[in-house]
Symmetry: C2
């Protein structure tokens, strides 16, 4: 079958790879309805993470089950399923607390930029739809697998409440989904920090009330102005750099929470500074599985349309162009038709 | 009048100082019913904070109002009052959000280890009792001014819920008050980390269900054993060193909150480590004013007895011995009768 392999920084190829097989009785094999490229796929692509062996790329997925292992009981061949990028048993204590992304058996999905994919821990990871979804809903369901669930977790961790003032740092796909999540949770004010027209427009479409194009000190000053010099009740940090984290900390009011979902790269916190800022923090890989049934329901009932973050659609064979377009910021997020 | 002045590390004296006067129309002058020495007073005493000029010590206080400025409307001479160590207007947006310790007009109290003290921002800071409290309730009311309110905030910030499993790191007065707070909030399991018999006994009296005397790796292992290898739902960090913070992080389950109230000294966090631990954090100087009416009510109705943390009582004239006893850990906390 065709699959995506990253051989070296900048060298990503769609090539023939072995079809996945059931390796554990808890596995399922799915035929992808679509796949996509994640902002985090760009780290190894850009050489920011080491590549020690050819990597089978792709961790966002939805599609039809074609085979299940002997122990799988909750999904069966022929069903349409969405799963989280974090594989979880959904029964361990961490899962029961709603932190499936710290599951005792956690694995990260891989190899989903392909025609078929193996999903370990299928019972704990996959959620089936009742019917076969309409084709135009596929992008939204695919978004639920990671980027929507991650933006949602950022808003949940930041404890967005009805009436909250919210700042979203980062205008990538996750940040835009954070805007959508904050809106769904009833935020009164949603300030999106973005310098790019297309992303600003999408942020406004998803419910942003204000756009701040400035960065650094100017950006902080602008947000403080917009929040009557108080700072925001909740901040969603969706980048993961020291600059973006500083921005998040400086626009949060004392007692606010920062939900941070951008994997920190080179970020350090000074304990005493954090203490006197009196800003709370909760982050980590998103426990998408916790939110998945609700998010799928919102998509299937057409109450939200997260699929709009895919502003480039390519056949799987053109995956290299998909990476290039995202790397050069010509595309927010690339959907791959398989 | 007599007051306490720190002249240099280790050199603290009870000496004649000028009586405080109303300087602002929002000030009140109180006659102290009692005062006490705080763990944080030991930092400059030990030379860990710079002393650039003689310091008038003491920020925990309760007593009778003797004079108020022209703008003060909520307390009047003759009333018994308790106030927070953080002075606040209790009207600014941060105060209204319950974070009076980040008040726009915040000042820190000083000069309360004395016969009289000036309390700025009296309306926003002081809470009066209905009647003159019985003498044996004075220690408990005094504790509410800082150490009880701080332990309470740690439990609140850590989001202790009915049924929670809680770890308290630190067996100083604040840690012991954290145990009391967790108990009041309905925690099912309260693990106190303490190596000192007297403090262990008091922790058990206040509601600790388990004592862990081990520290470092052994202490972490023991807590994990006690929490079925899951980690605690809530952790109260009441020390402020890198070791204690590491301990707190390592005993918290994913999704847990750490309420940290020990002012961090030399503490740094690695962003990526914090991210993957998926542990939340909220700290800072305690907004005692938020909790004060409730805490005073609990003390006055004798439902809690936080005054037991004072295991040494001295006249103000012996303040130097009070500092020595705490410095040498012969006393948990010293009450000064004025």
């Amino acid at each position: 079958m065709l699959g995506t392999v990253l051989h070296a920084p900048g060298d990503v190829r769609c090539e023939h790879v072995p079809e996945p097989e059931i390796l554990q009785p808890t596995d399922a094999i799915i035929r992808l309805a679509a796949s996509c490229i994640c902002g985090s796929d760009l780290w190894p692509y850009r050489g920011l993470n080491d590549i020690t062996a050819p990597m089978h790329m792709g961790h966002e997925y939805c599609g039809v089950v074609v085979e299940v292992g002997a122990a799988v009981t909750t999904v069966r061949p022929g069903q349409f399923v969405v799963g989280s990028f974090c594989l979880s048993d959904n029964t361990c204590p961490h899962c029961r607390h709603g932190f499936q992304s710290s599951c005792d058996q956690r694995e990260f999905m891989s190899g989903a930029q392909a025609v078929f994919a193996r999903v370990p821990l299928a019972d704990g990871t996959l959620v089936a739809t009742r019917d076969m979804p309409a084709d135009d809903l596929i992008p939204g369901l695919l978004a639920a697998s990671d980027v929507l669930g991650t933006g949602w977790y950022a808003a949940d961790a930041a404890r967005v409440q009805p009436g909250s003032s919210v700042v979203v740092v980062g205008d990538g796909a996750v940040g835009l989904m954070g805007v959508l999540a904050a809106k769904q949770m009833g935020a009164a004010r949603i300030i999106a920090m973005s310098r790019h027209k297309t992303r600003q427009d999408l942020a406004l479409h998803y419910g942003a009330t204000d756009i701040v194009a400035e960065r650094g000190e100017a950006g902080i000053a602008r947000v403080r102005e917009l929040t009557a010099r108080i700072g925001a009740d909740a901040v969603l940090e969706c980048v993961g750099t020291q600059d973006s984290m500083t921005q998040a900390l400086r626009v949060a009011r004392p007692g606010a929470m920062i939900g941070y979902v951008g994997v920190p790269h080179g970020v350090e916190f000074d304990g005493q500074q954090l203490f006197f800022s009196q800003v709370g923090m909760l982050g980590g890989p998103a426990p998408v599985r916790r939110f998945l049934p609700h998010l799928m329901d919102l998509v299937l009932s057409r109450r939200i349309d997260p699929g709009l973050v895919f502003d480039l659609e390519l056949p799987l064979t053109d995956v290299a162009e998909g990476y290039r377009a995202m790397d050069e910021r010509r595309a927010i997020k690339t959907l791959l038709r398989v």
